[in-house]
C-alpha cells in the first residue's frame, strides 16, 4: 500500500499545498499582533461586554483569539496550568485580588510599567487595586473595571407592600425593615445559599457594622485580637440573625435566581455585587423606578471593591510582547471601559471616564469612589485564595449549622492565622 512511490507523490502534493502559503507569509509586512485571551465572561451580559473589548482590539489592528472557559475557578486553573506547561496565552483574566500573586512572585508575568507610567496609575488608581497589581514597585496587571460586591438591592413593590417608606440607614433599621417585610408575607432577604454568597453577605455586615477600621484590621491585617474581639462576635451574631429572614429554598440557589425573587417582588432585599444589575435590566426594570440600590447604611460605609484585570504571562517573543502591549493599551482607554462596564454592570476604573451613559446605581458608585477614604477591597484583595477559602468554609458551616458563635469565631481566627 505505502510504496515509496505513493509516499513520494503524497509528499509532493503536501508540498504543493503548503508552498503558495509560505511566500505570502514571508512577504507580508509585520503580521498583526495576535492575542489569545483566556477569560470566563460567558453569561449574556458578560459576553456582550467582552465583545466590546475584542472589537476595540481588532479596531486597533490586532487579531483577537477568544478562549472563553466557563467558571472563574476553572478558567484560572487552565491559565496557571498553561503557564506552568510552557504554553501561556497572550493574556488572561483574573479578579483584582491575590489570585495571581504567586504567579508574579514566580516571575511568570510581564510587567506593564511603561503604560502605568504613561497614564500615571500611581495617582489615578484606587489604593485597594494598586495594592494587588503592584508588587515590588512593578505593575503586573491592567485593571478593566471596578465591581462593588456588597450592594443592597431592594424591590420598590415589596417596600410599598410592607409599608417601608425609606431606605434603612442603620443595622437596626435594616432589621426593622426585614421584620416588616416578613409581616407582609414577603421573603425579607433573597439569598443564594452558596458559600461564596454567604461570604459576600458576611462582608457586607462586617463593613456596615464594624466600619472601615474593624474591617481592615480583621481582613487586611488578620489581627488575632480583632478577630477574637467582642465587636467581631457581634458581627457574626448579626450575620447569623439574618438566617431567620431567608426562605427555606435558599440552599444551593444561584445568585441570579435570588435576584429573580427581588425582581418579581417576592423578596425584599438581596445583598449582591453590581453584576446583579444585569438581571434587573434584562427583566426590563429601571433603577430608581422598580428597584433601588444602596451601597451601605451610612455615608461612611466602606465601599468594598474588586474587579477584573488582564495579566500578561512572561514571554520573550517580540510578536507576543507587541500583542500584549497593544491589548494593555486598548483596555485601559476610558471609552472602552465605559462601554465594557455599561454591559457588564460594573464601573470604569478611570474616574475621568464619561459616566453619563451609565445608570443611576453606577453613577452612585462613581460618586462614592471619588471619596478615597471609603475605598476598601473585598476579602479576596487582602487574603490569599487559601485563606479566603478557609474563612468561607467556616462562614458557610456557621450559617448552615447550629455551630456556636464562639466556635465560629475561633475557627475564623484559626483560618486567618496562617
Amino acid at each position: 500500500m505505502f510504496t515509496p512511490r505513493t509516499l513520494a507523490t503524497a509528499c509532493a502534493w503536501l508540498g504543493l499545498a503548503v508552498m503558495p502559503a509560505a511566500p505570502a507569509l514571508a512577504g507580508s509586512a509585520p503580521a498583526s499582533p495576535k492575542a489569545e485571551v483566556i477569560h470566563w465572561w460567558t453569561s449574556g451580559g458578560e459576553s456582550a461586554a467582552v465583545k466590546q473589548v475584542a472589537q476595540a482590539y481588532r479596531d486597533a489592528g490586532g487579531i483577537w483569539i477568544d478562549t472563553a472557559i466557563a467558571g472563574g475557578d476553572q478558567s484560572r486553573a487552565v491559565t496557571i496550568n498553561r503557564i506552568i506547561g510552557g504554553d501561556p496565552p497572550t493574556a488572561a483574566q483574573f479578579n483584582t485580588s491575590k489570585q495571581f500573586l504567586d504567579v508574579i512572585e514566580a516571575g511568570m508575568l510581564n510587567n506593564v510599567d511603561e503604560l502605568a507610567r504613561a497614564q500615571n496609575w500611581d495617582q489615578m488608581l484606587p489604593t485597594p487595586i494598586i495594592d494587588v497589581i503592584k508588587v515590588d514597585g512593578h505593575y503586573y496587571a491592567v485593571p478593566l473595571n471596578i465591581h462593588m460586591q456588597t450592594w443592597f438591592w431592594y424591590s420598590k413593590a415589596a417596600f410599598r407592600k410592607a409599608g417601608i417608606t425609606q431606605e434603612p440607614s442603620s443595622m437596626s433599621e435594616f432589621f426593622a425593615a426585614l421584620d416588616k417585610l416578613k409581616a407582609a408575607g414577603i421573603i425579607p432577604l433573597a439569598h443564594g445559599g452558596q458559600s461564596w454568597q454567604e461570604t459576600v453577605l458576611f462582608s457586607a455586615i462586617l463593613a456596615n457594622m464594624g466600619g472601615k477600621e474593624l474591617y481592615l484590621r480583621a481582613m487586611r491585617d488578620r489581627d488575632q485580637a480583632t478577630l477574637l474581639s467582642p465587636a467581631f462576635r457581634q458581627v457574626l451574631l448579626a450575620f447569623k440573625r439574618l438566617k431567620s429572614y431567608v426562605d427555606a429554598g435558599a440552599p444551593g440557589r444561584n445568585w441570579n435566581d435570588a435576584t429573580a425573587l427581588v425582581i418579581a417582588g417576592r423578596a425584599g432585599f438581596q445583598v449582591m455585587g453590581d453584576w446583579a444589575k444585569g438581571e434587573f435590566t434584562n427583566a426590563g426594570q429601571v433603577a430608581g423606578q422598580h428597584y433601588g440600590c444602596m451601597a451601605g447604611f451610612g455615608a461612611s460605609t466602606p465601599y468594598l471593591i474588586q474587579g477584573d484585570v488582564f495579566v500578561f504571562p512572561r514571554t520573550d517573543d517580540a510578536q507576543a510582547v507587541r500583542a500584549q502591549q497593544l491589548l494593555a493599551n486598548v483596555v485601559s482607554q476610558p471609552g472602552l471601559q465605559v462601554d465594557f462596564s455599561r454591559l457588564k454592570g460594573s464601573i470604569p476604573i478611570r474616574l475621568d471616564a464619561d459616566a453619563t451613559e451609565l445608570d443611576l446605581c453606577a453613577q452612585k458608585g462613581i460618586e462614592i469612589m471619588k471619596d478615597r477614604t471609603r475605598q476598601a477591597g473585598v476579602t479576596e484583595v487582602y487574603l490569599r485564595p487559601d485563606q479566603n477559602g478557609a474563612m468561607q468554609d467556616v462562614l458557610t458551616a456557621y450559617w448552615n449549622t447550629n455551630m456556636p458563635v464562639e466556635r465560629a469565631q475561633k475557627s475564623i481566627a484559626n483560618a486567618l492565622k496562617y
Binding site: 504567586d102 440552599p251 444551593g252 487559601d386 477559602g389 468554609d393 458557610t396 448552615n400 449549622t401 484559626n414
Partner: protein, 291 residues
C-alpha cells in the same frame, strides 16, 4: 540454549513497563507528595521546608475535620451495606432464577456508568419538592417528607444510598463468581442433613468465600478513600460543608485554592489509613508464605 534463556527473561521483560510505572508514577508520586507536604508550597511547589506546619494547619481546619468524620460514617455504612446487599443479591441469583443474565446486567449496569452523570439523576430523585418526595406527594400523601439532601445531619446518608446503589452490583458479580466455585455436593449434603438454606449460606458457604470477601473488601476500601465524584455531582459538598470529604478538600486546595502544600498534607494523611489496612494484610501474606 538461547531460546531457553529468552523464555526465562521474556515474562520479566513484559512486566517491566508495569513495574516501572508503579515505581515512578505511584511510589515516586507518593514520595513527592510527602516531600511537598513539608514545604510552604502554594500555587507552585517550593523548596521552603517548614516542618509539620501544614499538618498543624490541616487539623486546625474545621472543614478537614468534618471531612474526616464524614468519610468514617460513609466508609462503615458503604462497606457494610455493599457487602450485605451484594451477597444477598448473589445468593438469590444463585437459586437458578429465570432471566439470570438479564438480572445480572441490571444489577451490574450502574457500576459501568460515570457517577458524574448518575449523580445528577440522584440529585433530581432526592431534590425536595421534585423527585421521590414529589412523586409520593402526588400519590396523595401530602405530608410526606424526604429532604435529606438539604438536611445537615442526613445529607451524607443520601450519598451512601447512591453509592451503594452503584457499587453493590459489582459486589454481587464477584460474590456470584465465588458462589459458583462452591462444590454443589455441599448443598446436596446439607439438604440431606435437613439444614435450612439460610444456615447453609451463613455458616458453610460464606466462610468458604473468605478470599472473595477479602478482595471485595479491599476494593470497597479504596472506593471509600477515593470518594469524590459522587459528592461533587450530588451536593457539591453542601449544604454548607455538611457533605465535604477529604478527596474534595484535597482537590479544591490543589487546583482552586492554590495551596499544594496543604493539599499534600491532606493526601498523606489519607494514605495512612490505607497503609494501616494494607500492612496487616501484607504481614499475614508473608507469614503464610514462610509457613
Amino acid at each position: 540454549m538461547i531460546s531457553l534463556r529468552a523464555h526465562k527473561i521474556s515474562p520479566h521483560l513484559a512486566l517491566l513497563p508495569m513495574a516501572l510505572t508503579a515505581l515512578v508514577a505511584y511510589i515516586g508520586g507518593a514520595l513527592w507528595t510527602l516531600r511537598t507536604s513539608f514545604t510552604a508550597s502554594r500555587t507552585f511547589p517550593s523548596d521552603d521546608f517548614i516542618g509539620a506546619a501544614q499538618y498543624v494547619r490541616l487539623f486546625d481546619n474545621e472543614r478537614w475535620l468534618i471531612s474526616l468524620h464524614n468519610l468514617a460514617v460513609y466508609g462503615v455504612l458503604f462497606i457494610v451495606a455493599c457487602m450485605v446487599l451484594g451477597f444477598l443479591l448473589a445468593a438469590f441469583i444463585d437459586q437458578n432464577v429465570n432471566g439470570e443474565g438479564f438480572l445480572r446486567t441490571v444489577f451490574l449496569y450502574p457500576y459501568a456508568m460515570s457517577f458524574v452523570a448518575t449523580g445528577l439523576v440522584w440529585q433530581w430523585l432526592l431534590a425536595p419538592g421534585a423527585g421521590i418526595e414529589g412523586a409520593v406527594r402526588r400519590l396523595g400523601f401530602e405530608n410526606f417528607r424526604f429532604d435529606w439532601i438539604i438536611d445537615q445531619e442526613m445529607v451524607i446518608y443520601t450519598i451512601v444510598i447512591a453509592a451503594v446503589w452503584q457499587a453493590s452490583g459489582l459486589v454481587m458479580a464477584m460474590m456470584l463468581a465465588g458462589l459458583r466455585g462452591v462444590d454443589p455436593e455441599i448443598y446436596k449434603a446439607a439438604r440431606l442433613d435437613g439444614i435450612p438454606a439460610w444456615r447453609v449460606y451463613l455458616q458453610i458457604v460464606l466462610p468458604m468465600l473468605g478470599a472473595t470477601s477479602a478482595t471485595v473488601f479491599l476494593l470497597l476500601c479504596t472506593a471509600v478513600v477515593k470518594l469524590y465524584d459522587a459528592v461533587v455531582a450530588m451536593t457539591g459538598g453542601g449544604p454548607g460543608t455538611a457533605s465535604e470529604v477529604p478527596a474534595k478538600f484535597i482537590m479544591d486546595h490543589l487546583f482552586l485554592r492554590s495551596n499544594i502544600g496543604l493539599a499534600s498534607a491532606g493526601a498523606v494523611t489519607l494514605l495512612i489509613p490505607v497503609l494501616a489496612l494494607l500492612a496487616p494484610y501484607a504481614y499475614a501474606r508473608s507469614r503464610k508464605k514462610r509457613a
